[in-house]
């Protein structure tokens, strides 16, 4: 069985691209660790939107939902571990500047 993607694909692709660009900019233009985490979250949102749109357009929504649930679980674990790293780093260095993370080397 094959599926041909319809033209409305471009609507979802446009908004996926805008969210992705926003997330990348948020990560690159800041030096605050919490904002980098927020950038990662926005990137995750864009991927989630694209997965759901792909499931909707291909008629495989159940499979897309299963994948999105996996993405959400990974997202939560990533956020909690990075939040722990940020708190540990702040307690040690009294700063949230990503420039200071070189001191974590070794």
């Amino acid at each position: 069985m094959t599926i041909v993607i319809p033209q409305s694909f471009w609507l979802y692709f446009t908004f996926f691209a805008l969210l992705f660009l926003d997330g990348i900019w948020c990560m690159l233009a800041t030096r605050n660790m919490v904002r980098v985490l927020i950038g990662i979250e926005i990137l995750m949102k864009s991927v989630t939107l694209f997965l759901i749109a792909a499931g909707y357009l291909s008629g495989r929504m159940a499979l897309a939902q299963a994948l999105v649930i996996t993405v959400i679980v990974i997202e939560v674990v990533v956020v909690i571990v990075i939040a722990g790293v940020i708190l540990g780093f702040f307690r040690k260095h009294d700063s949230l500047d990503v420039g200071n993370t070189r001191e974590m080397k070794g």
Binding site: I52, V81, F90
Partner: protein, 161 residues
């Protein structure tokens, strides 16, 4: 279709607010709003189970974690906050224009899409797919959760004297 496009535009605006807000708490609220709007988009597309999980976990739990991190890290002095705000505005002012230009540019792209995907024949209920066809994903999720717990335990362990 128009209301759905408006919903997607509001979603991008909420994400823009999350990335541009000066205060971390506002940025966190912007992210929660983005998650809530994404859940509405999912619900509108028929992904009800994923929408509920997105709303409860991403708009709820992750917001609580980020607010906790923000409150546990020391606030800046007024002068530092003012200087950071100016520097931040310098770095972020092109972003809305870049997004607007990208949105307008991409809205004119109408390349014929002839992507043909080979997919499995069955696509039933999400619970059937999750528990019967994607069992390895569930195993991976359990491993990731355990890795997360282990990571947090390692991060917060007490140093040996």
């Amino acid at each position: 279709m128009i209301w759905f496009t408006i919903l997607l535009v509001v979603l991008v605006l909420a994400a823009l607010w999350a990335s541009m807000a000066t205060a971390l708490l506002r940025a966190t609220l912007g992210l929660a709003l983005t998650s809530a709007l994404l859940a509405v988009v999912m619900y509108a597309l028929g992904a009800t189970l994923a929408a509920v999980i997105e709303l409860s976990v991403c708009a709820g739990l992750i917001t609580v974690v980020l607010v906790s991190v923000t409150s546990l890290t020391q606030p800046r002095t007024f002068k530092e906050a003012l200087a950071a705000r100016r520097s931040r505005l310098r770095r972020f002012w092109p972003l809305p224009f870049v997004l607007l230009a990208a949105g307008i540019g991409l809205s004119f792209v109408r390349v014929p899409v002839d992507i043909v995907l080979k997919v499995p024949a069955a696509d039933g209920d999400v619970r059937t797919v999750l528990w019967s066809l994607r069992q390895l994903d569930l195993f991976g999720q359990i491993l990731i959760l355990l890795a997360g717990v282990f990571g947090v335990l390692v991060l917060f362990r007490k140093e040996a004297k």
